[in-house]
């Protein structure tokens, strides 16, 4: 403790748990409380060590080995990582994943926020609209995929029937190299209910009087949105962006279900990173290679998260935060 440039080493300084632990003299009630606390959280600690920490470190280790999942793992150093950069499908899957993320993330953020703003307005039947927009997000993912496959089927689908009737071009959707990724983005937008509800909760937490004061001062609707709504819900935006980012980077189920007959197809237009990783691990039994892929994805995700959190200091406003 620094007091006017001097170190306070008074023996009368209060005993804290940390200082007591440092001195190895934690008194028995604290020790008992600590033991008790650890005992209560021990199921979580065990679960964390078994199902998170061990797999994480095991993945790092296996990334440096040639391992098929059953036999012994042979140490091969950085070979898997070197091979990654000579694997054209690795690059393709990385590109596809980031293409999807780059389009889907901003689009879904804007769309979910826009919907939440609309559903936050005081209109008749508001609860019904909210339910309607939320329902798709509680439909099981596989069922959603199957519905989309039928709706957007170029040969039998109702979407193309309507487009043809309207004399509009009818794309081949999931069956076309050009349209397959946009089709998956459309599918992603269909399940906006979850972030929309979170935005809605955030919007309802913005104090009404702020809008009233701003309106009295003559602020337009856009200015009220720009200078009140956006800053006030910026923590919610950050939360949703992180959630959506994780979902985009680990995109798997939808692609696996929809392209089950031609994984990654048409062509290699829908090879997503995790899907390719899964194929390497469980179809080709290259668990060492897939572990390297998994760790590489972890590093990329970690870098993105760090950048996102660092940047959040500039655009996220916490109303209760002391300046």
């Amino acid at each position: 403790m620094q007091v006017d440039g001097q170190t306070n080493k008074s023996p009368a300084a209060p005993l804290t748990v940390a200082s007591a632990r440092r001195r190895g003299s934690l008194r028995s009630p604290h020790r008992r409380a600590l033991r008790l606390g650890l005992l209560f959280v021990s199921p979580w600690i065990a679960g964390f060590l078994l199902f998170f920490a061990y797999p994480f470190f095991a993945t790092i280790y296996y990334g440096f080995t040639d391992f098929n999942g059953v036999g012994a793992a042979h140490w091969i150093g950085f070979t898997n990582y070197v091979n990654l950069f000579h694997d054209p499908l690795f690059k393709t899957s990385l590109f596809n994943t980031f293409y999807y993320t780059a389009i889907e993330l901003p689009l879904s953020t804007v769309a979910a926020l826009g919907l939440a703003l609309l559903l936050n307005m005081n209109v008749r039947g508001r609860a019904i609209y909210r339910t309607i927009f939320y329902i798709p997000s509680i439909v099981p993912l596989v069922a959603s995929c199957m519905i989309f496959v039928w709706l957007f089927n170029p040969a039998f689908g109702i979407v193309n029937d309507l487009l043809i009737d309207a004399h509009l071009p009818s794309p081949d959707w999931f069956f076309s190299v050009a349209w397959s990724k946009p089709s998956f983005i459309l599918l992603g937008l269909w399940g906006l209910g979850q972030p929309m509800v979170i935005y809605l909760a955030g919007l309802q937490g913005v104090p009404r009087d702020m809008y009233e004061v701003a309106a009295l001062d003559g602020a337009s609707a856009w200015k009220r949105f720009r200078y009140i709504t956006l800053p006030m819900i910026s923590p919610v935006i950050l939360f949703n962006v992180i959630l959506q980012l994780v979902l985009c980077i680990s995109y798997f189920t939808q692609a696996q279900v929809i392209e089950s007959a031609d994984p990654g197809g048409p062509g290699t237009s829908t090879w997503f990173y995790v899907q390719y990783l899964y194929e390497q691990a469980f179809l080709f039994l290259k668990l060492g290679y897939s572990s390297a892929m998994a760790f590489f994805l972890f590093v990329i995700s970690a870098v993105i998260m760090v950048v996102l959190f660092r940047s959040s200091a500039r655009w996220v406003y916490y109303a209760n935060e002391q300046q």
């Binding site: 021990s42 999942g69 059953v70 040969a155 689908g157 190299v177 062509g267 080709f284």
Partner: protein, 467 residues
């Protein structure tokens, strides 16, 4: 204020008796909870172990229990259950329990490997995905040569040669098919007549010309089509025997399709279909694959003049999905550039995972399933499944003969099983990569994403990738 005082009074070393009692009670509760958790977890583990034990091989009162994992459902699963019941009835010393697991290649492989690693695998596993080579190379499955003695000494000669070729790795027999796939050319007789085609084609050139006449559209949508080489996921690999391109290796033993004349001819032939709308064909195929339990496709639906497929289409799919087509289709050997008949040797193979508690009894069961010394029973089951048996003697069984006589179209499937041109891809550790690459390459050529030369190079690159 009182709270504050109470808080301040709680300082280390000054624990009140009440608080001490509370702590003691809390500790007892925590210990009790922890004990319950531990006991519960152990009990659950034991119960799980018990379940696994019941599912895995155990020996009790001189009966050997075997577990068989298969990936079928529906009518095929019913057939398997019939076979298991018959085996259990006729083999009092062995009891087989069939377990159905999800049919995805990745899921089933992961589950199998997990059980092998855990030391508790099923005794028998049915494998239709080409991972037998990888399993054999890694020592994950049992080499069955050790059982080919005594009454089984003639087993390999009893099988069709292609059944042995498809299951052998470095001189060892690692799998036994319970049924084989035989691929031939189906044709829709009324649809061919509609386009003025009076008889099925005898040469590849004639086939190409005939099928080209049959494509008609309404706007961008297909009304009728002749043939497309990638329907039903049947890509490059399924046509290799017709072009002499099944096993293309260089002197170093690496895959070398790029400089294989048959492979070049085949990929060029596939590329000749790139003028047809890939997306529309796949859309039709995918949509139809989701209905009727997956028992229909463009041909069965009556829209396609030709299709390369196996006997199950005529035996199972057409009667269920489009009975109007019964008695209106025929089957011929596919016309390729090598003499016909020929077909790709594949099938539904049974393997014995490493760690099986009773591999000898497992081999007894899978050879019985194949029909070895059991021709009469398997000969009555195979027609129901639309299957070609593992050995020719099964086809001589009365029930099988009756099926052949009642369905003249079947005559196209059996002769090619003994043809010298029929081949199976040689087992290698990277066969799964090969087949996946062949399918991807086929789709890319049909969509003009790759040239035939690029596609063959891609296949070699992927199939020769090691680590």
């Amino acid at each position: 204020m009182k709270d504050q005082e109470r808080h301040e009074s709680y300082t280390p070393g000054r624990t009140s008796r009440r608080h001490s009692r509370f702590l003691g009670w809390n500790r007892r509760l925590a210990v009790a909870l922890a004990a319950v958790t531990v006991v519960g977890t152990v009990s659950l583990g034991a119960a799980g172990g018990g379940t696994a034990g019941a599912a895995s091989s155990t020996t009790s009162s001189s009966v050997v229990n075997l577990t068989w994992w298969t990936m079928w459902s529906g009518t095929t699963l019913q057939l398997l259950n019939t076979m298991v019941t018959q085996f259990n009835k006729t083999h009092p010393g062995i009891h087989v329990t069939e377990t159905n697991i999800p049919s995805s290649a990745t899921t089933s492989t992961a589950k199998l490997l997990s059980t092998i690693a855990a030391g508790d695998p099923p005794d028998i596993f049915t494998e239709w995905w080409p991972e037998i080579g990888s399993f054999a190379a890694d020592g994950d499955i049992v080499n069955m040569n050790q059982y080919l003695t005594g009454q089984y000494a003639g087993f390999e000669k009893w099988e069709y040669p292609v059944a042995v070729q498809a299951a052998s790795y470095k001189g060892g027999l690692y799998a036994v098919p319970m049924s084989l796939n035989s691929w031939a050319l189906y044709y829709n007789i009324p649809l061919l007549a509609e386009f003025g085609i009076k008889s099925p084609p005898k040469t590849l050139a004639q086939f190409d010309a005939d099928q080209a006449k049959m494509w008609t559209f309404s706007g961008s949508r297909i009304v009728t089509m002749g043939f497309y080489p990638d329907t039903d996921g049947n890509g490059f690999q399924f046509y290799t025997t017709f072009f002499g391109a099944t096993n293309c290796f260089n002197k170093a033993g690496k895959y070398d399709f790029e400089s294989c004349p048959g492979a070049k001819a085949e990929m060029n032939w596939i590329a000749s279909f790139d003028k047809y709308p890939y997306a529309q064909v796949m859309a039709e195929q995918t949509a139809l694959g989701y209905v009727a339990g997956g028992q229909t496709d463009i041909f069965t639906n009556g829209k396609s003049g030709f299709e390369l497929s196996g006997p199950w289409v005529g035996a199972q799919n057409v009667p269920v999905s489009n009975p109007d087509l019964e008695d209106h289709f025929g089957v011929e050997a596919f016309p390729g550039i090598v003499p016909k008949p020929s077909t790709l040797g594949q099938g539904n193979f049974n393997i014995i995972p490493k760690g099986s508690a009773h591999p000898a009894q497992a081999f007894e069961f899978i050879s019985w399933l194949a029909g070895y010394h059991n021709e009469s029973f398997v000969g009555s089951i195979d027609p129901t499944g639309g299957w070609v048996p593992a050995g020719p003697s099964v086809t001589k069984a009365p029930a099988y003969q009756a099926w052949l006589k009642a369905n003249s179209w079947l005559s196209g499937f059996l002769p090619q099983m003994t043809s010298p041109y029929t081949q199976a891809p040689l087992l290698t550790p990277t066969q799964a990569q090969l087949f996946t690459a062949e399918n991807t390459a086929t789709a890319n050529v049909l969509q003009k994403i790759m040239t035939p030369a690029q596609a063959l190079k891609y296949i070699d690159q992927q199939a020769n990738a090691s680590s």
